[in-house]
Symmetry: C2
Subunit: 413 residues, 2 copies
């Protein structure tokens, strides 16, 4: 990899050669991939990018940590749409708002960006099997992306994992091991099995390449905005890998001179589970929290990528905001009604946070903001049902329709 210098521990600074099967530093710290930006500048220009027809995250190959001969994995991940949301901007009282819908990825979440990278690196490592423990989007995106590439997957889930998610994994041909115990026990068994059989490890907080996949969401936002830097980018935060990846992408672009400033990040967490935001607010080290939120994809009481995430929020002079489950479900409807975008609860938490900050007067009315929707609402229909209430219910009779409209205050234009 001519574009990569090495990997470096974010905690102790120890240097590692960037082999495809890197995991954490011996000190327990997470590694960061360090690039040779001078070299990359000779390889990549805005014009070159603009002429590319590859509408996937792999259009940014010069900024990705893969060997030249490594093929892009089969599923078309990334290059999700960035919508200008003028009606929503007006409702929130800001000048300009864009919504990035990452729910249209192949397995319907931003996690596909990390899994696509995992598959590429597993192929470089000569692995035929990838494993992870997860109940959520990471698992389904790994199973789907690996299946398309002809790799086997072993996925460990706690027995409380929803049946729908297990069915999706099994449809992708994953061998699913349901562990009778907590998530911690599930993780422990997966760790032993990965060690025993030497499977490739897809865990975003252990494998340093995965946030390099996630960073493409930041690269895309900037290219789609014509390199005009917004004032803020709002995103939901769970274990911290996604916001750290987003920030890495933005810093890459700054380093190669594609953008001349950096936006401020808005880190949105659920009130019932906000260990990272609490650390920023109090200035103290993060401490575990309970996982009291229906936004399951960000219900992470022990964030595994706290270091990179906290650094990203601080470095960007970011804002943090915690929202209630009620505010999350209100944001889901708000995005649906004004933008036609249906996000899962964790997916719309960034928008919920932005709304709250606007109401608190913390965002200037002339601001330009991007809000990232990280997953599709079809992933969790149960909560949408609970939030929506009941439709009008009548027999097939025009008189009854007129009465029902009147009773519900519906005025037909």
């Amino acid at each position: 990899m001519k574009n990569v210098i090495h990997a470096k521990c974010v905690k102790c600074g120890k240097i590692y050669e960037s082999t495809p099967d890197l995991t954490n530093c011996t000190c327990g710290g997470i590694l960061d991939i360090i690039y040779d930006y001078d070299y990359i500048k000779t390889q990549l220009t805005k014009e070159k990018l603009a002429s590319r027809r590859d509408n996937s995250m792999w259009r940014y190959r010069e900024l990705l940590p893969v060997e030249e001969p490594t093929p892009a994995p089969p599923l078309r991940v990334g290059w999700s749409p960035l919508y200008e949301a003028s009606r929503l901007a007006k409702e929130l009282g800001i000048a300009r708002l864009y919504v990035k819908d990452d729910g249209v990825n192949p397995t319907a979440s931003l996690k596909d960006r990390a899994s696509s990278m995992a598959v590429a690196k597993a192929m470089e490592a000569g692995a035929k099997v990838i494993a992870c423990s997860s109940t959520g989007n990471a698992a389904s995106s790994l199973a789907g992306n690996a299946a398309a590439a002809g790799l086997k997957t072993y996925i460990f889930v706690p027995s409380r994992a929803p049946k729908g998610k297990v069915a999706q994994l099994m449809t992708f041909g994953a061998t699913v091991i349901s562990v009778q115990g907590s998530y911690e026990e599930t993780f422990e068994l997966s760790k032993q099995a990965i060690e025993k059989w030497g499977w490739y490890n897809r865990n975003a907080a252990i494998n340093p390449y995965l946030s390099e996949g996630k960073k493409t969401v930041g690269l895309e936002i900037m290219e789609q905005l014509g390199w005009e830097v917004p004032d803020y980018i709002a995103i939901s935060v769970g274990d911290g890998c996604t916001i750290a990846g987003l920030w890495k992408g933005l810093k890459d672009l700054y380093a190669i001179g594609f953008i001349d400033k950096l936006p401020r990040l808005i880190s949105a967490q659920a009130e019932g589970c906000c260990p990272l935001n609490r650390a920023i607010e109090t200035g103290e080290p993060w401490r575990p929290m309970e996982e009291n939120t229906l936004a399951d994809s960000i219900a992470v009481g022990v964030p595994r990528n706290a270091d990179k995430a906290l650094m990203a929020i601080r470095e960007s002079n970011g804002l943090v905001v915690n929202v209630s489950d009620q505010e999350i479900m209100a944001a889901q409807k708000l995005l649906g009604r004004t933008c036609g975008v249906f996000g899962e609860p964790a997916g719309v938490t960034g928008t919920a946070g932005l709304k709250k900050l606007c109401e608190q007067g913390k965002i200037a009315p002339d601001a330009t903001v991007v809000s990232v929707v990280t997953g599709n609402g079809l992933k969790d229909v149960a909560n949408a049902i609970a939030a929506c209430g009941e439709p009008i219910s009548i027999p097939s009779d025009m008189e009854r329709l007129l009465t029902a409209f009147a009773e519900n205050g519906i005025v037909v234009d």
Copy 2:
């Protein structure tokens, strides 16, 4: 519209001016939009297309029935990925297979193509409200695409409509009227309301523009194949609008000289509801059938676009094939395992039909085939759960894992 000559009834041949609010012919027949291909040839070249960065169905504007100033509706519909599925081709015993995944559209089905067109034509008609009656993908795609464009929707569903789908509609801000009665009664009430208030009518078998939106799936397949015509295109068939649209797109390309032959269509229906395929097989007029299939999106006992669909299948010298629910669910797993594509039951019925034809020796081993997946598996997780069986369930213990692998015949490579 310089590219459109007029609309013409497929039944009696009566000619209509192509106003945006066209519905059926006075004889009850469905209208077809007739283009001026000589004019289009002067406007569109393969090179021009290749240089376009618009990765949506609207890249084919010269072939679409919209006025020049009409903007493309906001949601990014179409330009879904076409995957070469070499492992699946091998399993089926054919030379080359491509899978078109239309489940990654904004509301997760091919119906978005029709709804995007509906929104464009509604804007041309000056309408502020669009209405339809449907419980399925048409309803959610209309609600989402209209919400993004700032148009109101009234959607009539029978009271049996699944709560999840109703919640999705309500999230998009649609006014949902749940009608206590059959689908027929629901349709009747919607018809009266549409007439009373003059709402724009989004019904694929009444509004002749909608299959013009759907035809973009055919345009894309051919452009993505570099204009190399496959031997067959397999697709599931319900009310007939989709296969008719697909065929229209292919014929358009033939008419303007972009392709020099036409593929044969494979019309796949469910055994429990196959009125159109039965008509082809028997040579008799189609007759209503019961709706005995779990593939709800194609459970159409009274197909509303029979004429165009039957013409398309016959004109293409097409094959028809009916598959059982069991074969449909097997195809869902087959596509998931070999391609990483998770389709809803109706979405994978084309692949199920292709598999059956291959097994029957009706497809030559040197054939090139495209199979269209029309909707996302996340739309109907319940059936996937039923089809998948149970995962391995054990405590967090390596010995138990080894035993479980042995018992289940799992050999770790």
